[in-house]
């Protein structure tokens, strides 16, 4: 059985991080989300993959190539315009025959979920969908049941309309008839995979597989920090042999250290932290519960807590991201008390002795003058002057 992995979307809620990479390439424990997904699917016994790529697809292709490094075969189908997950799945049509598994490439799932979808699909003719329970179902497709049988899927229902916390986990066992269903489906705007599945549910012939195992989604920027921490906790981080930690520096696991990372004298790297390839941590710096992407440079004496530092960003000496909880506004919605020290976008250049208030989000390529204080959301390529 082949697996079709949908990785064509951007993940706009995760801007600025998704301006130059698609969401599935966000690093969790120094490996892209998608790599965790691929490994789970591979563990479930599948070694033929079709990636439906689109937005910033070069990032995915560069990392995965033809899949040899994971002992899998990857074929690429291209979705030129992002017109929904159903439209994305249609792009995979030339690459599959018979039954197949389809899933989102940006959610970390337990291999058992995939295994059970595969096994269930082998015993029934109907479409199969995995469901799981979450604390906050309003962001997902909420599934209503009558007894054992799923009867409806409601996409992102208003909070007051949520009657259950069982949601569509985004793992499906399907066959080629799905392509006809998708073509026949009436969609206003984006065509989702669930558009035809809703009809199946209404007819009573949608099989569901319930599971309670690992299921981690990164919906918002702060989720990246917590998912990174969770994965490090569960699986320990890898430390590349070429990473060098000065003998007077302290590294307390679980942390992940990428290739050619340098941790300079007296620096301290604390649990929940992933330092990407070629990251430089200056002398006396403290980094805790943070995702630091490749090529970033952290100056001497900087303190970074509960934060994300983008690729090739520079953080000056003695700059502080103090961490902790804050109210963060995303697309006009206030999210209260989320744990987010701050986000520093790719290629940003933060001067020395800058204070970054909790919840700040600095866009890509921002420049912050030494000694400034930053709060709130800063646009891409903006310059923050000391005022």
């Amino acid at each position: 059985m082949k697996a079709v992995v949908l990785v064509a979307g951007e993940g706009t809620r995760l801007r600025p991080l998704t301006r130059s990479r698609p969401k599935p390439m966000l690093p969790v424990a120094n490996r892209p989300l998608l790599e965790h997904v691929v490994e789970s699917v591979h563990e479930a016994g599948i070694d033929e993959f079709v990636f439906v790529v689109g937005y910033e697809r070069e990032r995915i292709q560069n990392h995965f190539g033809d899949g040899d490094q994971w002992d899998i075969d990857i074929e690429y189908a291209v979705q030129e315009k992002q017109l929904g997950t159903g439209h994305a799945l249609l792009q995979a049509e030339p690459y599959v025959d018979g039954a197949f598994v389809a899933l989102n490439g940006d959610r970390i799932v337990d291999p058992s979920a995939v295994t059970r979808v595969v096994e269930t699909r082998r015993t029934v003719e109907n479409s199969v969908m995995a469901v799981t329970r979450v604390d906050d179902p309003a962001d997902y497709g909420v599934v209503a049941f009558e007894g054992e049988r799923a009867v409806s899927i409601t996409e992102k229902p208003p909070a007051h309309g949520v009657t259950t916390n069982v949601i569509n986990a985004g793992i499906y066992g399907l066959d080629r008839s799905m392509f006809d269903d998708l073509r026949g489906a009436e969609a206003d705007g984006e065509l989702g995979i669930t558009t035809p599945l809703r009809a199946h549910a209404a007819r009573g012939d949608l099989e569901t597989v319930r599971f309670d195992g690992l299921w981690l989604d990164v919906s918002h920027l702060w989720d990246l920090i917590s998912v990174n921490g969770t994965v490090l906790d569960r699986f320990e981080g890898e430390r590349a042999p070429s990473a060098s930690v000065h003998r007077d520096a302290t590294v307390v696991g679980p942390v992940a250290l990428g290739a050619d990372v340098r941790v300079r004298p007296n620096a301290t790297v604390l649990p929940g932290t992933a330092l990407g390839n070629n990251v430089d941590i200056g002398a006396n710096a403290v980094v805790s519960n943070a995702v630091v992407m490749p090529d970033a440079r952290i100056g001497d004496g900087a303190v970074l807590r509960d934060c994300i530092v983008g690729e090739n960003a520079a953080v000056g000496p003695n700059t502080t991201i103090e961490g902790g909880e804050a109210d963060v506004v995303v697309d006009g919605v206030v999210h209260e008390d989320v744990r987010l020290g701050g986000v520093v976008g790719d290629n940003s250049d933060i001067g020395g002795a800058v204070t970054v208030e909790p919840g700040s989000v600095l866009g890509n390529g921002t420049r912050v003058e030494s000694g400034s204080t930053v709060d709130g959301t800063i646009e891409d390529d903006a310059t923050v002057r000391r005022g």
Binding site: N62, S242, N278
Partner: protein
């Protein structure tokens, strides 16, 4: 320049040979063929054209488990069916594939003709099967026959031979690349590991004069009649790296791979705190102190990398440096060979011109250092010292990632020399090393601007000619930018030192000739801007690769280059690679296999 492959073992030879030839196609692709050896016959299929044309002539299946294959890039004789390899004797009992040149084929051919042999092709190769036939007719076994024939040949060659009467394969290496692959289910020969890496990673590298016999019993190597052992090694390349992974062309894939390949180039070699590098080179300290000149020899893109390095060596390591085009090289007067370090820069390590220059330097008594991408290549083995650029395999004929990795490696060499000779301060070394660390990230930023370059390429693709300008470190980049465009788009492109413009080339500038200018640190952008004004006032559209904002009003398009000190021109170069790619792609060119060109040129 050609590629050869051979297999003998338990599996069907046909698919192994055909797939292997596709992987070797970068070495040449104007004709191709295979010979399948079965008991009692040798079946030859060959034709002019790419491997895909050959595939149409091949049978669907064959039970042969031994055979040889060849992909050709013409040196002697045009690309025709008759000139395609394998070549055979009159009876069709012996088939030979050959990479290299047999210099004395004229006299051998005349002698054979006087003995009644008839030839079908214009190639130098065809004398070999006829000579072998004579030896076999005298009752000798194939390996002995090959030995006796090789004694009569002069030149450079790697040969693969099969015959009706011998259950196996015989190969010879003499001054041309050849690698042997070993596995439980059979043995391989090829010009390059990529030909069989899908089947095995266990390889050994024969040396010059080795004759290799591959049979069911394994591999036997003799040199000058003595049995020799060549140690086997494991190739660590990812086979994945030899496939396109979702890209339309290898070239685009390789352009995008540069952040990763550059990380690999510098990995573990930089000690920023000490301002030093660890290159695993054992040049004696007293020799380094005594060096008066570093002489770089190279061809094509490697030559441009060497030009860049010359500036760095003189500016940072304070050592006199010169660059020679390898085919023009001679160890000239005015220099003391014992105080000259000759650095041969060659991606493949098999470039014939560069090897020949290196050998000449060595004969003159100079110490030689090969800077190459290919472990076990001839350059690496013959030079006194080898330094690897670690860029991973490059399949696209137009070099992209290897140029960046070559300059990065030569920058490391600059620090090595400067620090050991005491002429480079720790602080200046640290700055260059920090820039090297930042190189992958800076290139990624340029790659993120790919859409801009695609649009610019579409806008200017129909120019009559393209001119590339730069100064100082920008000059080699201008030359390289023009070379890329020539190679893959087949349009007229020239790179100039910007100051030379007014001494002649300015006459060529019109509103139909787009100008691409390097305006970054290290390339004296203020001065180049004056030249930009000159071309702008003559109506030429100007695309500037700029790391600062001055002069933007004279530029029709600005491609922003991130700050990276003396390496900024190299980041601009990546923009020019994308420009060349999209111009060529818009014209529908065969980007990975440009006409008349081959990846590593193993003929002089």
């Amino acid at each position: 320049m050609c590629g050869i492959i051979g297999y003998t073992g338990d599996d069907d030879a046909l698919p192994i040979l055909a797939d292997g030839l596709e992987n070797l196609e970068y070495r040449g692709y104007d004709s191709a063929g295979v010979a399948l050896r079965r008991t009692g016959s040798v079946d030859v299929y060959k034709c002019a054209g790419e491997i895909s044309a050959l595939r149409e002539r091949l049978p669907d299946a064959s039970d042969a488990t031994t055979g040889v294959g060849h992909t050709r890039w013409s040196t002697h004789g045009e690309p025709t069916d008759a000139n395609a390899h394998p070549h055979t004797d009159e009876a069709g009992e012996v088939a030979v594939v050959h990479n290299g040149i047999i210099e004395n084929y004229d006299e051998l051919k005349s002698a054979l003709e006087s003995r009644g042999h008839e030839f079908e092709s214009e190639t130098d190769t065809e004398v070999v099967p006829h000579l072998i036939e004579e030896e076999l007719d005298d009752g000798r076994a194939l390996p002995v026959a090959v030995d006796r024939v090789v004694d009569q040949l002069s030149g450079s060659f790697a040969l693969g031979v099969v015959s009706e009467g011998f259950d196996g394969l015989v190969a010879v290496r003499q001054d041309s690349p050849l690698v042997v692959g070993l596995s439980d289910t059979g043995s391989f020969i090829a010009s390059d590991v990529t030909a069989f890496i899908e089947h095995t990673r266990e390889v050994c590298y024969p040396e010059d004069g080795d004759r290799i016999v591959l049979t069911d019993d394994g591999v036997d190597i003799e040199n000058d009649g003595e049995r020799v052992e060549r140690p086997s090694e494991r190739v660590e390349w990812e086979a994945e790296a030899a496939e396109k992974g979702g890209y339309d062309h290898y070239m685009l894939k390789e352009i995008h791979e540069q952040p990763q390949s550059l990380r690999q180039t510098v990995s573990g070699r930089i000690d920023e705190m000490a301002g030093d590098v660890d290159l695993d080179l054992d040049l004696p300290a007293e020799y380094l102190d005594s060096v008066e000149e570093v002489q770089l020899v190279a061809c094509g893109t490697s030559y441009h990398a060497a030009l860049y390095a010359k500036r760095l060596l003189e500016e940072l390591a304070d050592v006199r440096a010169s660059v020679e085009i390898a085919s023009e090289y001679e160890f000239g007067g005015g220099r003391d060979p014992w105080r000259t370090l000759v650095v041969a820069v060659t991606q493949s390590g098999e470039t014939a011109d560069t090897l020949s220059a290196m050998r000449q330097a060595s004969r003159a008594g100079a110490r030689t250092l090969a800077v190459t991408n290919t472990v076990g290549s001839t350059a690496a083995r013959e030079a006194d010292h080898a330094l690897y650029i670690r860029a991973g395999p490059e399949i696209g004929v137009a070099a992209t990632k290897t140029f960046s990795s070559q300059v990065a490696t030569l920058s490391l060499l600059t620090v090595y020399l400067g620090r050991r000779r005491g002429d480079l301060s720790r602080e200046r070394a640290q700055t260059l090393l920090e820039n090297l660390r930042g190189f992958p990230g800076a290139i990624q930023r340029l790659l993120d601007e790919e859409d801009t370059l695609r649009e610019v390429a579409a806008e200017y693709a129909d120019g009559d000619a393209f001119f590339f300008l730069g100064r100082r470190l920008g000059t080699p980049v201008a030359l390289e930018g023009a070379l890329k465009l020539k190679e893959i788009a087949y349009v007229h492109a020239e790179g100039f030192a910007a100051g030379e413009l007014k001494h002649g080339p300015l006459a060529l500038v019109t509103p139909e000739t787009p100008v691409l200018a390097v305006l970054t640190k290290g390339s004296n952008p203020e001065a180049t801007l004056n030249n930009v004004k000159e071309v702008e006032s003559r109506g030429a559209p100007v695309i500037g690769f700029s790391s600062h904002e001055a002069g933007e009003k004279y530029l029709d398009t600005v491609v922003a280059v991130p700050e990276l000190g003396l390496l900024e021109p190299l980041v601009a170069n990546v923009g020019m690679q994308l420009f060349a790619y999209y111009v060529a792609d818009g014209m529908g060119r065969a980007i990975d296999k440009p006409r008349n060109l081959a990846k590593s040129v193993t003929v002089e």
